[in-house]
Symmetry: C2
Subunit: 494 residues, 2 copies
């Protein structure tokens, strides 16, 4: 067991460097004054080099070979498998490719920030072509090493085990019912009287409300904090989770639901097993599972009428607006479940969101596989937006194919996690409902059984089982998109 | 110039690791929830190991030898000298000694936190003996390498070039006039009517006032921040200086003057030359020079009547107390210059402070040189406190020799920096006065000439000249304690 132990020690060392990276990156986004950015970026780049050198040290190949020949118990086998997966991910790509990708990504992203506002697809597409070429190269290398198709090899980075075959089947099913469901929901909602809450909602009061809600949702403030950043995220380390939000005086719901979303991510991190700390087996299973936890908190739980019965009085109290009709749970339930097809993914509601993802998935899949080229994107985008959401993006790249940051740095394969996560969340909720009456628990202000279920079935499993296995153990079956469909019908059409 | 360049690159890499260390340490003290401490400490310990390995890499010896043989210009020579000084400091001690010191220091400090409250000298002294033995060992090694005496070799870490011989001369002089000066000041102040400002002073208002005063003192908020920690400090990096304070609702002056003190440290860091960034020649010259900048801001500038004419109305406004007689500049001038011999160094006033330092200097000098033993400390402490300040500490170790944290981790040689710093500050002010009318500038709200003088003579010099040279270039002579004496007489007896 000598080499297994060496490998474990090596990975714990790596995780300490990740710790420094996570805290300094959080600081960069939430605390650092602008003038500190250059030196910080240089320090973080140096750290990244050291992390990469350590993660790809030549002696690891031999260590893995020897460790695999050792007498290991089951848990150690699992841990070794995850260490090896991480090592292979890190060593697969030649350093020159990684560097070219980093440079092309920075260049593309930096230019995108102004090109997007100028609707300048022509200039943007040149940079994007470079990024796509490098990603295809990466995909090719990963495909050869794993025996997967090129796009599947990228998917595997974010959602191990997920394949195009499975996604095509799931997303084609969604496409068969989503457009008509959206229309039905819109028809139903056309007659609803919804009051839009009118600001200002002072930031200090929003902050107090956020902290109170996080507390109700079991966020452990002894192992985490809430701060402010331009782009909200969940960062830090599992023993000290740093979530951020951005307050808007005109609208308290966006920050509040954002905080609840990040609290879902945070509880997953805080709930990871201490026993496996510092080892890949002790980390979150996948991006999709991570997103399932944030969406469980944000969508399944907090947009439910039962939970809004708790949330609404907290909000009225926080803003001293006990007579504001906009802040009743009935109105907030309506307000927070409005469905409107629109251009921007990050602002999309729960029902139209999958359409945005499927569109991106279909385009990036074909792009990586080489079936389409960068030049084809705007037309495809417009065609699919029209087909799925009834909106044209012709000549409007700003609100079309140039709206997201993901492709600028070559994160192809990431988008599906969002909708896969929403589906996992619905499936977890359905399984939980078979064991307990969720509404009764919420009404009794007794959320612990819900969190305990997540802790037992997801958080404490970390990466010690595959995603399929995790789903089966938690819900009795693999990913089944029917639960998500049923959730949308129950919430939006009943 | 090949090896000089390699060494410079190596040191820039080291400074990037210091950057990560500084930010994560700042976070640990000011942001991190308690539950994150264990993992953070482990991550920082791992980083410290990597920093040490890099700083003491075996090939550096050859690099230095080869670089010294290269054709270098004057600036490069200076830079090489400082790199070599740092390298020698780092490589001198065997790793086992450093580790033993770290362990003994942690143990001693940890136990001290409760032992101090329990006045338990007996238990504390056992741990301290271990620490002292290891420091004597360190001093011996440093003495052999440098040709200095053992205590001088420790002094040299914090205040390069400073010697026991010089300190004995300076401090014996101070001892010859300080006790009688303290008595005279007390007699004079006995008849003064001083009003103690009465709280509460809300923390938010104190914070606004602090930020406003920092701004007036030229703190660059694009390269730094103000936050809260239990023990105020100036941390971060020169491009992003993080200062902290601790607010007390009952007394606004302690936090405010603390912030001004740290602002002095911060402006030195922010003013260091960008050209030398990442190289030892571009770092602060010494602990004494660093303290001279904080004390210049806190003592020379902010406790002056002229500056209090600016500060007092800011404070009255901040707390909406325009009629509070305690907040006039006249009263604040009296209140902030009260002299009272007391037990605790960190709470001491400007006049009695040197007595606390001289006492510690004399004890630690003899302790390191082996002239006295740990057992002798309480009696010596009591004797010297009685002699210098007329206070006995017999049987009161809590407020006597157990009050400071410095000795617990073996930082012998550090204490003199405080008083040396106060003397440098007075000497800088005297030199400045020969070039400009400080009071007129302050009255005209024109502080730039003062800061420009410090920037030109101290900040931009960084470590490119020796301390003696820096003093000579700035003031025309080496350290001359007469200016400090004269400053005390002018402020307290006129
Ligand atoms: Zn998320
Ligand atoms: Zn200081």
């Amino acid at each position: 067991m000598n080499f297994y132990k060496k490998l474990a020690q090596h990975h714990r060392k790596l995780s300490k460097l990740s710790h420094l990276n996570a805290i300094c990156s959080w600081d960069q986004a939430s605390m650092m004054p602008e003038g500190g950015n250059e030196a910080r970026s240089e320090a973080l780049a140096e750290l990244a080099v050291m992390q990469h050198e350590l993660a790809t040290a030549p002696h690891l190949k031999e260590w893995f070979e020897k460790a695999e020949a050792e007498q290991l118990d089951n848990e150690q086998r699992v841990s070794l498998k995850e260490m090896k997966r991480e090592w292979q991910m890190n060593t697969l790509l030649p350093a020159e490719l990684v560097e070219s990708q980093s440079l092309a990504g920075s260049k593309c992203e930096h230019a995108w920030r102004s090109q997007r506002h100028e609707n300048d697809w022509h200039s943007f597409s040149k940079n994007l072509k470079e990024v796509v070429e490098l990603s295809r190269h990466e995909a090719q290398i990963r495909a050869e090493a794993t025996g997967l198709s090129r796009y599947d090899a990228l998917l595997d980075i974010y959602e191990p085990g997920m394949t195009t075959k499975q996604l095509d089947r799931i997303f084609n099913d969604v496409k068969s019912w989503l457009p008509s469901l959206i229309r039905q929901v819109q028809e139903k909602q056309a007659t609803e009287d919804v009051i839009t809450p009118v600001g200002p909602f002072p930031i200090e009061q929003q902050k107090s409300l956020s902290l109170e809600v996080m507390s109700k949702l079991g966020f452990d403030f002894n192992h985490g904090r809430l701060d402010v950043s331009i782009h909200p995220f969940c960062g830090g380390v599992s023993t000290d989770v740093r979530i951020t939000t951005r307050y808007d005086e005109a609208d308290f719901t966006s920050a509040l639901l954002g905080v609840i979303h990040e609290t879902g991510h945070a509880r997953y991190e805080q709930g990871l097993p201490a026993k496996w700390r510092g080892l890949p087996a002790g980390e979150a299973r996948s991006m999709g599972i991570h997103e399932s936890q944030s969406l469980f908190f944000e969508m399944q739980l907090s947009r439910s009428k039962a939970f809004l019965d708790i949330l609404a009085p907290l909000a009225s109290d926080a803003f001293s607006r006990r007579d504001d009709a906009a802040l009743t749970s009935e109105n907030l339930a309506l307000f927070n479940t409005r469905v409107t097809p629109d251009y921007i993914r990050v602002d999309a509601d729960e029902v139209t969101y999958p359409a945005h993802i499927i569109l991106r998935y279909e385009i990036e899949r074909d792009l990586v596989e080489g079936h389409i080229e960068v030049e084809d994107i705007p037309e495809l985008w417009d065609k699919k937006m029209t087909e799925y959401l009834g909106l044209t993006t012709r000549c409007n790249h700003t609100d079309g194919c140039m709206q997201d940051i993901h492709w600028t740095d070559g994160s192809f394969g990431y988008f599906p996690s969002y909708t896969i996560g929403a589906m996992y969340a619905a499936q977890f909720m359905a399984a939980m409902r078979r064991e307990m009456n969720i509404e009764n628990l919420i009404h009794a202000r007794n959320l612990s059984p819900i969190f305990n279920w997540l802790d037992r079935h997801i958080w404490k499993k970390a990466s010690t089982v595959s995603t399929d296995q995790l789903l089966i153990e938690a819900t009795g079956e693999k990913l089944n998109p029917e639960y998500f469909k049923q959730h949308l019908i129950d919430r939006y059409l009943k």
